[in-house]
């Protein structure tokens, strides 16, 4: 490039070359199409106007703000606030209306179910499943088996304060560790487990003294689970009449839960969600169909 560029005309096209050459191929100096060039100028003007109007150039600790004062962060906050305000009409009604009346009001019920469905997906589905069917250790909310009660008020209380949380109003009820705390011997646990299994329709071991198991049940378990294994929801003692157990349906699972029980925790939501959302969730879960 040191030598001066001599004007050279390409014989074939009659167009001047740029003087650049690669392996004998020379670049023609054809002008850009006019429409393209003018569009290019327009984009440059556009950019300059944009710099003035909108935030653009980064500075050391800040940036040029632009004369229009556009701020996407504030726009997002405003959009969120507007969303909350738009919902407030219904949300306020939900808070002011009793759960039974929400379930009877067509409009409120529709809003509560939609609101509850969204909140369920965000907060509840990780443990209870997106359809509310639960899994081992996490109760199924679709069926009619309720440990702490399945009425609207029961569900509302559980949702607000949780189960075995630090909240003063939380539902507390621990299954004693009959094996770990040596309240019963290994043989005794075996006998009472087989008794419960026999009543719940679970396959039992052979040659186990079920009568002794029944006596052990009446002495140790009936206070919470009831004389007829029907369970007592006030203390969170589940019914043992069918094998719809939270922690497994085999004899081995029953033995494990008596010897060294798991006492699952459900968080309380009163400090995390607003009252309208908790009420909506209550109505939504109740409307799965298993609600009482």
């Amino acid at each position: 490039m040191a030598e001066p560029h001599n004007k050279e005309i390409d014989q074939v096209s009659g167009v001047e070359t740029t003087g650049h050459e690669w392996d004998g191929l020379k670049e023609l100096n054809n002008p850009l199409p006019k429409w393209w060039l003018y569009l290019f100028y327009v984009t440059i003007i556009w950019a300059v106007v944009y710099w003035v109007l909108y935030p653009s150039w980064p500075l050391v600790s800040s940036y040029t703000k632009g004369v229009l004062g556009a701020n996407q962060r504030q726009e997002a906050i405003a959009a969120y606030d507007k969303g909350v305000a738009d919902r407030s009409e219904f949300a306020d009604k939900i808070v002011a209306t009793s759960l039974e009346d929400i379930a009877k009001d067509q409009e409120l019920l529709q809003f509560a179910r939609a609101n509850g469905q969204a909140a369920f997906g965000d907060n509840c589905a990780p443990c209870h499943g997106s359809g509310g069917t639960g899994s081992e250790g996490y109760p199924n909310l679709q069926d009619d088996t309720w440990i702490w009660g399945g009425t609207l008020d029961d569900i509302h209380t559980t949702l607000q304060y949780g189960i075995r949380t630090d909240n003063d109003d939380a539902r507390i009820g621990d299954m004693p560790a009959f094996g770990r705390d040596e309240l019963l011997s290994r043989d005794e646990i075996n006998q009472v487990s087989n008794f419960v299994a026999s009543r719940a329709g679970v396959e039992t071991d052979e040659g186990v003294d079920l009568a002794a198991g029944k006596t052990l049940y009446e002495d140790n378990c009936a206070a919470c689970h009831g004389e007829n294994l029907e369970g007592i929801q006030e203390v969170g003692a589940p019914s043992l009449m069918s094998a719809n157990f939270l922690y497994g349906k085999t004899l081995k699972d029953i033995k494990a839960q008596i010897a060294d029980p798991r006492n699952g925790v459900m968080p309380g939501w009163v400090d995390r969600l607003d009252p309208a959302t908790i009420k909506s969730l209550t109505v939504y879960v109740h409307s799965f169909g298993g609600g009482q």
Binding site: G14, Q142, D143, T145, S287, G289
Partner: protein, 487 residues
């Protein structure tokens, strides 16, 4: 450079595309010009004023005869009301429109292009303005060559002002079809109309102004697909705007042809006056025969007839005629006009059949609807008492303008099956009664619970039947009841 590249030099100088030649159509008068004015008045009249036509539908409904209500998702055409899920009615209209186009083509060529197409109608209107302001063909050609004097600027400004007014009115009328017209007009005048109305007016003002003012015949020649399809669909029996060359040729000036005649030599009736070419809005010489650029508006017929009258020859040198008839005349046979042929009868039959189907569908339209969506998660729920429950999301549609209630019955399940609608207390004989407001839908969660310990298959087909409580209108839909049984 090798020698063989030299041959490309000459080819290089020619542009790849022919640049558009400006066309200055001359004004003419006659039968087809009058037909075109009449159709222009009728079609534009309908377009501009139809939104203001009122139609009383009673309370809870708009009183505009033709309205597309996007906000409430309803379409209105006089006594017809269309819900979004019934837009398939439009399919029938589109089929009829397409076949009608084919029928027109089989009868008399591009009737649509020449007389009815919005591009033609608006271009005609814009040309009329141009002619009133700037003068006829000759004046306009001269004006284009004139320097920019005050007079020229005034003429141009006046023309573009009127063009923009028409274009703006076109866009303004368009948005009136989507809102209550009188209300929107007031909102537009007081600058309170929704932004989308102004945007659409702007878009349609621009397109009208550009398409009818500047692009004109370029739209027909380069943008529109119909000329290509039309050329493939036409046949030798279809009437087309035709130059009867059997009569016109050999063409020549009046003087020259008279001289030939006096010598007993063959002389055609065409005096080569170029009137047909000068009135043509697409710049076509019809004497070259049928061609794609020709929109068959008939103005060259008017122009030629006027000349023929002046020189005392019979009119119809250019006329609606068929290729077949020219051949027949040359052979000395009588011309034939076969409007009724297999093709036209078939098209007419298709239009009649589709129209009948649409009419039937319209007359038997349901005024209630039900759609059922089975729960996907969980598909079924086994309960401790041995019952099995399925959940459904059921949407009731009430297309009447007063509240109605529907009794829901689920058929196909064993006796003592429980059907509940969440939030619905009214039950008659185990069947929930769901109230639905006027002209709206209601979504209800429906729970179907089987009797305890019944052996149900994996999937039981069931029918959801709703019965309207007063008139007894019945609508059904099919779904299934899922159970843990074997598939």
């Amino acid at each position: 450079m090798s020698a063989d590249t030299e041959t490309h030099v000459s080819g290089n100088s020619e542009p790849l595309f022919e640049s558009a030649k400006k066309i200055y159509p001359m004004a003419t008068h006659g039968l087809f010009r009058r037909i075109k004015w009449a159709l222009l008045f009728v079609t534009l009249g309908i377009y501009y004023f139809l939104p203001f036509v009122r139609y009383d539908r009673g309370p809870n409904a708009p009183s505009q005869a033709v309205l597309v209500d996007m906000e409430h998702a309803r379409g209105y055409f006089f006594f017809i009301e269309i819900w979004p899920q019934e837009v398939y009615y439009l399919t029938g209209l589109l089929i009829i429109a397409a076949v009608a186009l084919f029928l027109m083509n089989a009868v008399a060529g591009r009737l649509w292009c020449g007389y009815l197409c919005p591009q033609t109608v608006w271009t005609d209107l814009f040309l009329w303005v141009e002619q009133k302001v700037e003068g006829d063909r000759r004046d306009r050609i001269a004006l284009d060559k004139d320097p920019w004097t005050f007079g020229k600027i005034r003429k141009r400004a006046t023309k573009h002002f009127f063009w923009l007014m028409i274009a703006w009115w076109t866009g303004g009328a368009w948005v009136l079809y989507f809102n209550d017209a009188p209300t929107l007009v007031w909102q537009l005048l007081t600058f309170q109309a929704p932004m989308v109305a102004y945007v659409w007016i702007g878009i349609l003002t621009t397109t009208t102004y550009l398409l009818a003012g500047f692009m004109r015949e370029q739209v027909c020649i380069y943008m529109c697909p119909w000329p290509r399809i039309q050329a493939a669909l036409t046949d030798e029996k279809a009437l087309n705007v035709t130059y009867r060359w059997d009569r016109g040729e050999p063409r020549g000036s009046l003087k020259q042809n008279k001289k030939l005649e006096s010598q007993g030599l063959p002389a055609g009736d065409c005096v080569d006056c170029f009137q047909c070419f000068q009135v043509c809005p697409t710049g076509v010489d019809i004497r070259k025969g049928m061609q794609m650029d020709c929109i068959q508006c008939g103005l060259c017929i008017d122009a030629c007839d006027n000349i023929m009258n002046k020189i005392g020859k019979p009119t119809g040198l250019i006329a609606y005629d068929t290729d077949e008839n020219i051949e027949r005349r040359i052979e000395g046979k009588e011309p034939v006009f076969e409007i009724v042929r297999v093709r036209t009868v078939a098209y007419a039959a298709i239009i009649a059949i589709v129209g009948a189907i649409m009419l039937f569908a319209l007359l038997n339209r349901d005024f209630a609807d039900i759609s059922v969506l089975h729960d996907r998660n969980p598909v079924f729920v086994e309960q401790s008492d041995g019952t099995i429950r399925n959940g459904y999301t059921v949407r009731f549609s009430n297309k009447r303008r007063h509240p109605r209630s529907f009794m829901l019955h689920v058929e196909g399940m064993p006796p003592n099956t429980l059907v509940e609608a969440v939030g619905v207390d009214a039950i008659f004989a185990g069947r929930p009664i769901v109230e639905v407001g006027p002209d709206t839908t209601r979504e209800v969660r429906v729970l179907v619970t089987s009797p305890p310990w019944v052996d149900l298959p994996h999937s039981t087909p069931v029918t959801f039947r709703i019965t309207e409580s007063v008139m007894g209108e019945v609508v059904t839909t099919e779904d299934t009841f899922k159970a843990p049984g074997k598939p």
